[in-house]
Amino acid sequence: MNAQLFALAMFDGIAYAALVFMVAVGLTLIFGVLRILNVAHGSFYAIGAYTAASIGGAIFAAGFSPWLAFPLLFVAAALVGILLGGPIERLLLRRIYAKEDALQLLVTFAVFMILEDVQRLVWGVQPYFEATALQQLGNLEVLGVFYTKYQLIFLPIVAVIVLIGLRLFLRRTLSGKLILAVTEDRETATAMGIDADKVYLLTFIVGAALAGFGGALASATTSVVPGMGADMIVLSFAVVATAGLGQIEGAAVTALLIGLGRSFAVYLMPELEVLIPYLIMLLVLLVRPEGLFGAVRTRKI
């Protein structure tokens, strides 16, 4: 493998990692606070993609400026967070926080199954494709190979902004601090007058919106098809478990690890490509059971 191929594999890996991170970070945020592993997260991702693609298709066909594609990403994310995430937390998850892990997980599994059919009923089965955002930014030639600026530059920058933004939000703003307090110890936080219900709701909306944002970002690069959520959710599970549950920075590092692992596999051993995320996860957990960045929890007696 020469330097050129090495560089190409790096670029591809980083672009892919950025997308994976966007989805995984919402999942890990929700787990960190609500202690629920949300299977329906994959559906939020898919619905974000469908929303961006279908609204985009409609407004660009009507002749609006193609630059609207970028604000549209945020619109799609907000719609997913508020219209889906909010009601699901309020009406459903709130009723099951006292139940066992398995039941909580199954509830989100049920939501996932329902949303899969909802997507088909709303958007049908034909693939959607809306790449205006990507076309607006144009291409870039690196080492004789054309890349889209969207994938090579825009996506990684967005991922870094989200990472830093989340960190600042959690550490520097009041809402963020409230979230951290509830994550640390819900009972004490409640006793100190923090409205834990509100914090849960806010976190879930933000987490769902991040998944929707990830889907909206991805919609410019890929066909939006039925079943895209099911694949994404397992991949983000692998990222989140490898990173350590609830670890936001960890998710970034792991996404990068998996993204690079995957693109190098395509160059060196294409047959291994699909195994890479799980192999990385297994190896990491063998050595560090709590994940790369997870903290050891004291066992309760």
Binding site: L92, E100, A102, F109, V111, I114, V118, R299
Partner: protein, 329 residues
């Protein structure tokens, strides 16, 4: 004989007789029984408070063993398939078990998921060995050396499976009531206490894990020969989720619930796919939500409550099974 006992027996007899009235139901019921066996594996682990989201792995291992045996010996022998398939699942169960019994709760679930997804990816990727995502045909095996026609084979499978399930259910019931079974349950309620007693929690869980892997393996072989085809989908995470789904539906922790759940699930699924082809997943999803939110003790728990009302009792019925899924707090 009390009503409480009579109804299950009548239901059992109905299941046994149904294929004579509606021949197409025979295969659906056999598949339900095969899944019921695998669900029983999940139920064993639920007693230890652990949920695996990767047990479809063992289901797939034994199913593929059956397919390879059939391919290697031009049809093969049913009994050999069952024995070797289950044995292979046990072996893989030991290998994976030694590793995962060190973990609990969400990590236990996720690690099982990871291992099963690795197996799933291998099955999909190594097309020339495993047939890739189209899977492998499972040749119809002979039974004790006697070659079989489809109709006879299916009838034999159904009644064989029925007898097998009753025997296995009784065996698992005995296991759960035995001292080692009680130790398994202690992992859920108070693992530290178990360790203070000088019992290795890991070893206890490993035994439970092996039992569950073996049960899934048994179900997998049965499924493979009933279907006549195995695909990587057998090991997919949604299949694992389905097993957990059925366990909760039937009444988690309940041995009978595993089979009741599997039967109801298959029937609902078949009818939903037939009469609501566009929204069968949604139907199942709402069904699952309803069970968790309004009847978290599952179908068996509902039945218990119904019987209590009929018999004029108002207390929760006896039987740890039904309480085990109540909130721990």
């Amino acid at each position: 004989m009390s009503l409480r006992l009579a109804v299950p027996l009548i239901l059992l007899a109905l299941v046994a007789l149904l294929p004579t009235i509606a021949p197409w139901s025979q295969v659906v019921l056999t598949i339900a029984l095969a899944k019921g066996l695998a669900v029983l594996g999940i139920v064993v682990l639920l007693h230890a408070g652990q949920v695996s989201f990767g047990h479809a792995l063992f289901f797939a291992v034994s199913a593929y063993i059956a397919a390879f045996l059939g391919k290697a010996f031009a049809g093969g022998e049913l009994i050999t398939m069952i024995l070797l398939g289950t044995l292979a699942s046990l072996a893989v169960g030991l290998l994976v078990g030694l590793f995962v019994v060190r973990y609990r709760h969400i990590f236990f679930g996720m690690l099982n998921l990871a291992v099963s997804m690795i197996f799933f990816s291998i099955l999909e990727k190594f097309y020339h060995v495993t047939g890739g995502s189209d899977g492998m045909q499972v040749a119809r095996p002979s039974v004790l050396g006697v070659p079989m026609e489809r109709a006879g084979f299916e009838t034999l499978l159904f009644y064989g499976a029925l007898v097998l399930c009753i025997a296995v259910a009784w065996g698992v019931h005995r296991y759960l009531e035995s001292p080692i079974g009680h130790m398994l349950k202690t992992i859920k309620t108070n693992e530290t206490r178990l360790e203070y007693l000088g019992v290795s929690a890991r070893r206890t869980l490993l035994v439970g894990y092996l039992v569950s892997a073996g049960l899934c393996g048994l179900g997998g072989v049965l499924m493979a020969v009933t279907q006549g085809i195995v695909t990587p989908e057998y090991a997919w995470w949604i299949r694992s989720g389905e097993l957990v789904f059925i366990a909760i539906l039937g009444g988690s922790g309940s041995v009978a619930g595993a089979f009741v759940g599997a039967l109801v699930y298959e029937v609902v699924r078949t009818y939903a796919a037939a009469f609501a082809a566009d929204i069968w997943q949604m139907v199942l999803g709402f069904f699952l939500l309803g069970i968790i939110l309004y009847a978290s003790s599952g179908l068996v728990g509902l039945y218990g409550k119904l019987m209590d009302r009929l018999e004029g009792k108002h207390k929760t019925p006896a039987g740890g099974a039904k309480q085990s899924m109540e909130p721990a707090q």
